[in-house]
């Protein structure tokens, strides 16, 4: 290629490159470079201040398993990320079916169930705190006391806190997820149902053999986002329980912030971050793999 055409082709490409450049720069600075930093820090004893941290090999990674507060946060996140998607999916599908019927107030009902999705999770946590507070001014406890019963520990009960956190999460997100299914229901071929009626299929059989398999595309998206958002959750447990009582509802995100930013153990917290990334990647590949196979079967 002669020099002239090279200059010319560069001139042709330049405006296109300028279009991508800003997004490329921002993304590189905000995602790619920090990702490498985290990876590097995770093998050091970096505290955020000392310029030349020592390499400590895999020490930080091993300490994740042996530090109780931290390993608890991982197991909490996993429990939460199993329970929340499971319960929400079991509720969102029937809710979508009901909201798809000819009820006169269906639009109002959709608006009500969807409503928590537009409110900050931090606020929702505080609002539920008024309801589930262990003090006698909380809604549940004041109702119990006024009916002559003893008040309960609720959010201060280490055994109940996680279950209550899951309950509140279900309250906040089921409406949003049933919207995915509701949208999917609109595109199922009605001829399938007619054919099934002619064959004498009952309501249960129609659900099992037509509706449920045909909801696979919505399910892929919904379950993926449920899994990822449950693993990443921060605002809601933070405002509802602050991770307590003890470490009963401390999630990985909160734990990374406490270790890395509040206690300056950047190296250690970086190892947690990398393990978290591995967990996210694993879950995504597994989930997308399994779910899209269901979709292929559909096509």
């Amino acid at each position: 290629m002669s020099k002239k055409t090279l200059v010319q082709s560069f001139g042709n490409e330049l405006p296109w490159l300028l279009l991508v450049a800003p997004a490329f720069l921002i993304y590189t600075v905000l995602t790619i470079i920090p990702l490498f930093h985290t990876f590097f820090y995770s093998f050091t004893n970096f505290n955020g201040l000392a310029p030349n941290p020592d390499f400590v090999g895999l020490d930080n990674y091993l300490r994740v398993f042996s530090t109780r507060a931290v390993s608890t946060s991982f197991s909490n996140s996993i429990v939460y990320a199993v329970a929340v998607p499971l319960i929400i999916t079991l509720l969102a599908i029937p809710l979508a079916l009901l909201l798809d019927s000819q009820m006169r107030t269906r639009h109002l009902q959709r608006a009500i169930f969807f409503f928590p999705s537009v409110i900050s999770a931090l606020f929702l946590g505080y609002i539920w705190n008024f309801v589930l507070s262990p003090s006698s001014q909380g809604l549940i406890n004041s109702l119990l006391l006024s009916s002559g019963q003893r008040k309960m520990l609720l959010l201060a009960d280490p055994k109940a806190a996680m279950a209550l956190l899951i309950l509140v999460t279900v309250w906040t997100s089921t409406g949003w997820h049933s919207c995915f299914y509701l949208a999917n229901l609109q595109v199922i071929d009605q001829a399938l149902y007619e054919a099934a009626s002619i064959d004498g299929a009952g309501a249960m059989q129609r659900f099992r053999f037509i509706t449920f398999p045909n909801l696979a595309p919505a399910m892929t998206i919904s379950v993926l986002f449920l899994l990822l958002n449950s693993l990443k959750v921060f605002d809601l447990p933070f405002s509802l329980t602050e991770g307590g009582p003890g470490y009963a509802t401390t999630m990985v995100t909160q734990s990374i912030i406490t270790e890395g930013i509040n206690s300056n153990r950047i190296g250690f917290a970086s190892a947690m971050s990398i393990m978290f990334l591995a967990l996210i990647a694993l879950v995504t590949f597994f989930q997308v793999g399994v779910m899209s196979r269901r979709e292929e079967k559909l096509a």
Binding site: P15, W16, L19, A23, F24, I26, Y27, V29, T31, I32, I33, P34, L35, H37, T38, Y41, G48, L99, S101, Q102, M103, R104, Q109, A111, F113, S117, V118, S120, L122, Y126, I127, W128, F130, V131, S136, Q137, L139, S142, S146, C179, L182, A183, Q186, E194, S197, I221, F225, L228, K232, F234, I256, I257, G260, I261, I266, S270, S273, I274, F276, T284
Partner: protein, 275 residues
């Protein structure tokens, strides 16, 4: 077959309305409590207030400086959303319309980051932002939010690929450059995606807590969400202030939801939104 209103429909309608009522109890409780005295809240928590007492709201407005933080949120959210839309659509145009080795590489390059959660990058980000002196500044937080352009980029790329090229080619023949063609011809055609992105990014950025908690916690510049958090540390035991503060803080998003409801549902139903 499912177009009829049967007795079963009537029955489910009643049951589901009852569920709706139970569902809204926490919100109702928050709202009615704001008009009550502390004693009234404890003695009859679910009863309607005996009078429309606005004292609590007055005290809440005094303690939280509502309008200042409302405008902080508005500033941060609107500038971030504009950046996301502008940068995301521009990059998408190049990637969708100039398929060569470089843009293909860029597409995969952006796709990697899609998977990387903030949890994995926030520690170095905190140090980088501190080094650049961008902690506790509006521009710092807006810069961080603008990374949402990557998500926008993917929605736009799919949309542009499905668009006919005729208009753009005519514009190029007329001698218009890439930038002019993009802003005058292409960008207006992207409206459906832009609308969806504006609505959902507004909700996400307005409601963001993690980023502002880490990068903008100072009292005078903080967002509405962050200011409620700051207030909680001081007033959490005094529910007669906390409850009206929350009602006030929730109001902008409720209004936004009511105004945009049709578009929100449309955005979800179109399946164009994957987040």
């Amino acid at each position: 077959m499912r177009k009829k209103y049967t007795p079963t429909t009537l029955f489910t309608e009643f049951i589901l309305l009852a569920v709706c009522i139970v569902f809204m109890v926490p919100i109702y409780y928050l709202f009615v409590s704001t008009f009550k005295t502390q004693r009234e809240i404890v003695e009859a928590p679910l009863a309607l207030p005996s009078s429309l007492n606005l004292v609590n709201y007055m005290r809440a407005l005094e303690t939280m400086d509502f309008f200042r933080h409302f405008f902080n949120s508005l500033l941060i959210t609107s500038l971030s959303v504009i950046l996301i839309v502008v940068l995301g659509s521009m990059a998408a145009y190049a990637i969708a319309r100039r398929p060569n080795r470089l843009t293909k590489f860029l597409r995969s390059y952006f796709l990697i980051g899609f998977m990387v959660p903030l949890q994995t990058t926030m520690l170095p980000l905190f140090l980088i932002m501190k080094h650049l002196g961008l902690i506790n500044t509006y521009q710092g937080l807006i810069f961080l939010h603008s990374n949402g352009a990557v998500f926008a980029l993917f929605l736009y790329t799919d949309f542009i690929r499905a668009m006919p090229r005729d208009l753009e080619e005519a514009s190029f023949v007329d001698g218009a450059g890439v930038f002019r063609t993009f802003w005058q011809i292409v960008f207006p055609l992207l409206r459906p995606v832009t609308a969806t992105l504006v609505i959902f990014n507004t909700i996400w950025i307005w409601n963001d807590f993690l980023l502002s908690y880490l990068f903008l916690s100072s009292n005078d510049k903080s967002t509405l969400i962050m200011q409620v958090y700051n207030g909680v540390g001081l007033y959490f035991t005094d529910w007669s202030i906390m409850m009206p503060v929350l009602v006030l803080a929730v109001t902008p998003m409720i209004i936004f939801y009511i105004v945009m409801q049709r578009h929100i549902v449309a955005g979800l139903t179109a399946g164009s939104l994957r987040g």
